[in-house]
């Protein structure tokens, strides 16, 4: 159960994610620098949040051209679970692994606040321990987090059940309040909120159990019983 945490220049939630993976859920996690390749036998890959390349030009666009993304794409095709969080989601979108685009928040500001997610698809490696419509208290922290797709893509997303999370209320102007999506196969998931900031009760002022299920889902997928 090897989980890779990809590190780009400017990633800044890599260490948080690593801590949660190893110390809280006891995965065998390892960092991979963006210029390196990923090993063949990896079991899951996580692209953490941050400001890769300082968010220059557009969040995620420069990192999407990193050498490691080629490997991420190969692994994605094999059906291995891949999760992009915040900037990781932006990178997945910019590299074409996920549909849509993340635009500047309607407020035009960086927003750091606690939100509630609603689970819309519990058929992904990161949501299989949820019930549909379950609520997850979780924080966001982003400037470019407004998910947008054109009408045709939206239809497709709905048809193929690719909407994974919605905000329970309007947060930043995302199309249909979308907070996370997956690819058609469901193994590549991207989400703007930060699960790694919500799984420990010490720093979660509301309830840490729902977001923990994101990682427990991965454990289940990988055949590890809790």
């Amino acid at each position: 159960m090897k989980v890779g945490v990809v590190v780009f220049p400017g990633s800044n939630c890599d260490r948080d994610m690593y801590h949660v993976l190893t110390d809280v859920f006891h995965f065998d996690a390892q960092y991979y620098w963006h210029e390196k390749g990923l090993p063949k036998n990896i079991d899951a890959v996580i692209l953490p949040g941050g400001f890769s390349y300082g968010d220059r030009l557009r969040a995620g666009v420069i990192a999407a051209h990193s050498p490691i993304i080629k490997d991420v794409k190969k692994i994605a095709e094999k059906g291995i679970p891949i999760l992009g969080v915040c900037n990781g989601f932006q990178i997945l979108v910019e590299s074409g692994l996920l549909p849509g685009v993340l635009l500047k928040n309607e407020s035009l500001n960086f927003m750091c606040e606690w939100t509630n997610l609603i689970v819309e698809n519990n058929n992904t490696p990161f949501t299989n321990q949820f019930k549909i419509n379950e609520k997850i208290p979780i924080p966001i922290a982003n400037g470019e987090g407004r998910y947008y797709v054109d009408d045709d893509t939206m239809k497709k997303l709905k048809k193929k059940n690719q909407i994974v999370f919605r905000y329970s209320e309007v947060v930043n102007g995302s199309s249909d309040r979308i907070a996370g999506v997956c690819n058609e196969d469901g193994n590549v998931v991207g989400m703007m909120p930060h699960p790694e900031r919500a799984v420990e009760s010490e720093i979660n002022p509301i309830d840490n159990k729902p977001s923990s299920r994101i990682f427990e889902s991965l454990l289940t997928t990988m055949g590890v019983s809790k």
Binding site: P9, G10, N12, C13, R15, D16, H19, V20, W33, G49, G50, F51, Y53, G54, D55, R56, N109, F110, M111, C112, E113, P139, A141, G143, H194, E196, R197, E200, E202, I203, P205
Partner: protein, 724 residues
């Protein structure tokens, strides 16, 4: 940029010859107020700087505190006032960058940022609004990109900052004690300049910071590059882990001149460097320009010949510049060459140690009459007055500010901004609490008591989280020190802080002096800003939700101290009166008692009483808990006072405690035992914030509605120009 005549002759006599033009530039940069502290240094020595937890090492740019189990916390505070007043976005952002590098240079990872922001009257003054908005974005963009949470701060508006800005930034670092950089160097070691390239931007910045703003120097503006800074942080920490750093210093005011001469002086070495080796952004820069450029995001590192390769490999990985610019000599000289040619060769001691001044001081004339109160129109509707205060820019929620700051990254933030102090968890199971506070309105009326008040307020905030104060940072911001009246206010504030620090045995672990803060209308009010760091051994006090039937106790006396209060200044537009004075004994007793109550798990939450007085503090508790409260003003302990004074006096050492009724007798016993002045003054419940005087209702406000106004009025004002 130049030396004063008398300084020039002093330099000549010290070196026994005419200085070269490059030497003149280097010395002018280093002898500026900003770098040399020439006006303040001899007085700053009065502050207590040692204590059982303080680790002192030569050459540290930040204070180091031992928090046990092999871990240390580092702390520093800085301001970027002049640059922020002309380019608020870049000025504020590079301010963050600078203080972060100070934390980094001790060898610790930065884990938190605090910002203290002061501007003119944002309700009337569009320029102030523009400055404020852009400074906030500058801090947000920089800190967020670095992935260092900005977890607290303060915001204040006062007409004395018209056309000006005070942007203070404090930072905390954390690391293993064994990883602290020991700052040593020996002959033959290599001097490396790491990070961004050197350009003409920011030339003369430190002198700029020491001039009044009239001489606006355009080239002194710096462009922030948080992305490079982030790479520097990771590269430096990796180099630290690999033991590649013998000594390190960040490049701040005075650029290379300052970094080279101070490193040479502190480590008692000589440094010979070649400006041709510095990676520059533009061609054709003169040696003196390279030496005084204040381009941001650069670090000076001393390493050995053998370790250099490894250091270069790390820099290559992060794609940041790494120039070997010189080497360590045994002669204590700062020797600047361009190729073979010498441009400066001065003793480090001469450059790094400007002659300290002993400026005259004199009690300001205005203080003679400032305490005399005017007669005021009586308040006819206290509900309206309280609502007005709660929506005023100084008291309204600052969520528009901290909501733009990533305050969660790093997953340490246990108590988030929006309460009193914020709390971080540390790797050894302990918790760190910190807050910065200032109060120029009080300090203007009484520079000494005002400064003590800021210190006590920061302590109170930290104590409300269950933390014991273990260190203090001071940032002393005043006008032109050559004015004896201003210098007197500086000395008074400093003496007050010293007394308090000694009495409470809270060592000063870092600080900064910023002088020449003058606006076109004159000097700013004295503005010391105090940061207090507290440590929690076991469990922090995280506010529990207050519910129906819970009780409210106030600790501490309410006195006739409306001078400099928001009530006088915002409601009555009056500057004057008697400002709050801290009684040291009461202060200590109250602090310890609150800590005792928290330790014994007796209360749900503690909130300190400060700006806006009791009325505002109770309202804040109600609003953040979405519950009403009925308070009896006649029960409030202290002087016999009129209703307005009980509601709005800003007397110090007061705490509001909420708790379950079942703990009442235990709490009372503990407080009585500790000989504390306290009273049970209210009950939570219902949907109104209500203050009664005996049987008469004085204030009645709906919690939900008030909450909405308090929460949104600052952003409405800044974004849409709405005043409520």
């Amino acid at each position: 940029m130049s030396l004063e005549d008398q300084e020039l002759s002093e330099l000549k006599s010290k070196i026994g010859r005419e200085p070269t033009p490059t030497e003149l530039q280097i010395v002018a940069a280093e002898w500026s107020e900003h770098c040399s502290y020439k006006s303040s240094k001899r007085h700053l020595k009065m502050l207590p700087m040692t204590g059982p937890l303080v680790i002192n090492e030569k050459g540290y740019d930040s204070g180091v505190l031992d928090v046990g189990d092999g871990y240390v916390v580092t702390a520093h505070i800085e301001s970027h006032n002049h640059p922020s007043a002309v380019e608020p976005y870049g000025g504020a952002a590079t301010g963050v960058g600078g203080v972060i590098r100070d934390i980094l240079s001790a060898g610790t990872r930065p884990i938190a940022i605090f910002d203290g922001l002061r501007f003119g009257n944002v309700e009337k003054d569009l320029q102030a609004r523009w400055l404020f908005k852009n400074a906030v974005t500058g801090i947000a963009d920089y800190g967020n990109c670095l992935g260092i949470p900005t977890i607290g701060g303060e915001v204040e508006f006062d007409e004395c900052y018209e056309n000006y800005a005070l942007v203070d930034v404090a930072a905390l670092g954390f690391g293993k004690k064994e990883h602290l950089i020991k700052n040593h160097a020996k002959k033959g070691d290599i001097v490396v300049l790491m990070g961004g390239s050197t350009g003409r931007d920011g030339i003369g910045g430190s002198q700029f910071a020491s001039d009044s703003l009239e001489s606006e120097d355009r080239s002194a503006v710096q462009i922030p590059d948080p992305f490079i800074e982030k790479l520097i942080i990771e590269a430096v920490l990796q180099a630290r882990n690999d033991g590649l750093i013998h000594a390190m210093k960040d490049l701040g005011g005075g650029g290379l001149s300052c970094a080279i001469s101070e490193t040479a002086d502190a480590l008692e070495i000589g440094i010979e460097m070649d400006v041709d080796k510095v990676h520059t952004r533009e061609s054709g820069m003169h040696p003196s320009e390279i030496m005084v450029s204040e381009s941001q995001e650069r670090m000076l590192i001393v390493t050995s010949k053998i370790k250099l390769k490894k250091l270069q490999t790390i820099c290559e990985k992060f794609r940041i510049g790494c120039s070997m610019i010189g080497q360590v000599k045994s002669d204590n000289q700062v020797h600047v060459k361009k190729g073979k040619k010498t441009f400066a060769n001065l003793s480090a001691d001469v450059v790094a140690n400007a002659t300290l001044l002993d400026l005259p001081s004199k009690k300001p004339v205005y203080l003679k009459t400032i305490e005399t109160e005017k007669k005021f129109k009586p308040i006819s509707d206290y509900s309206k007055t309280l609502m007005k205060l709660l929506s005023s820019p100084n008291i309204a929620s600052k969520i528009w500010v901290y909501g733009q700051y990533d305050h969660e990254v790093g997953i340490r933030t246990v108590v988030k901004p929006g309460k009193d102090a914020s709390v971080l968890r540390l790797d050894n199971g302990k918790f760190l609490s910190a807050k910065i506070d200032g109060n120029p309105k009080h300090c203007y009326i009484n520079p000494r008591e005002g400064a003590i008040g800021c210190f006590e307020e920061a302590c109170r905030n930290v104590v409300c989280t269950g933390a014991k104060p273990i260190g203090m940072l001071d940032h002393l911001q005043f006008g032109n020190p050559k004015d004896p009246e201003i210098f007197w206010t500086f000395l008074e504030s400093l003496k007050g802080l010293t007394d308090f620090a000694k009495f409470f045995e809270i060592p000063c672990v870092g600080g900064k002096v910023s002088l020449y803060n003058e606006t076109p209308k004159g000097p700013i009010k004295p503005t010391p800003v105090i940061g207090v760091i507290g440590l929690i051994d076991k469990k922090p006090s995280v506010s529990q939700k207050i519910s129906e039937g819970d009780c409210l106790i106030i600790i501490g006396n309410t006195k006739n101290e409306l001078g400099g209060s928001e009530f006088f200044e915002y409601v009555h537009k009056f500057v004057g009166g008697k400002c709050p004075v801290v009684n040291f004994d009461d202060s200590k007793k109250n602090m310890n008692s609150v800590l005792d109550l928290i330790k014994n798990n007796l209360i749900k939450s503690a909130h300190d009483c400060s700006k806006g007085g009791l009325a505002v503090a109770v309202s804040e508790m109600c609003m953040t808990n979405q519950i009403g409260c009925t308070v009896s003003l006649d029960k409030v302990p202290g002087d016999k006072l009129t209703v307005d004074r009980i509601l709005f006096s800003e007397s110090h050492s007061r705490y509001l405690l909420s708790f379950d009724k079942k703990n009442l007798s235990k709490i009372k016993d503990l407080l009585k035992n500790n000989k504390i002045s306290f009273k049970e003054i209210g009950k939570f419940g219902g949907e109104n914030i209500q203050f009664n005087n005996k049987i008469q209702s004085v204030v009645k406000l709906n919690v939900e509605k008030t909450h909405r106004v308090w929460l949104n009025s600052l952003s409405d004002l800044i974004l849409h120009g709405k005043t409520s």
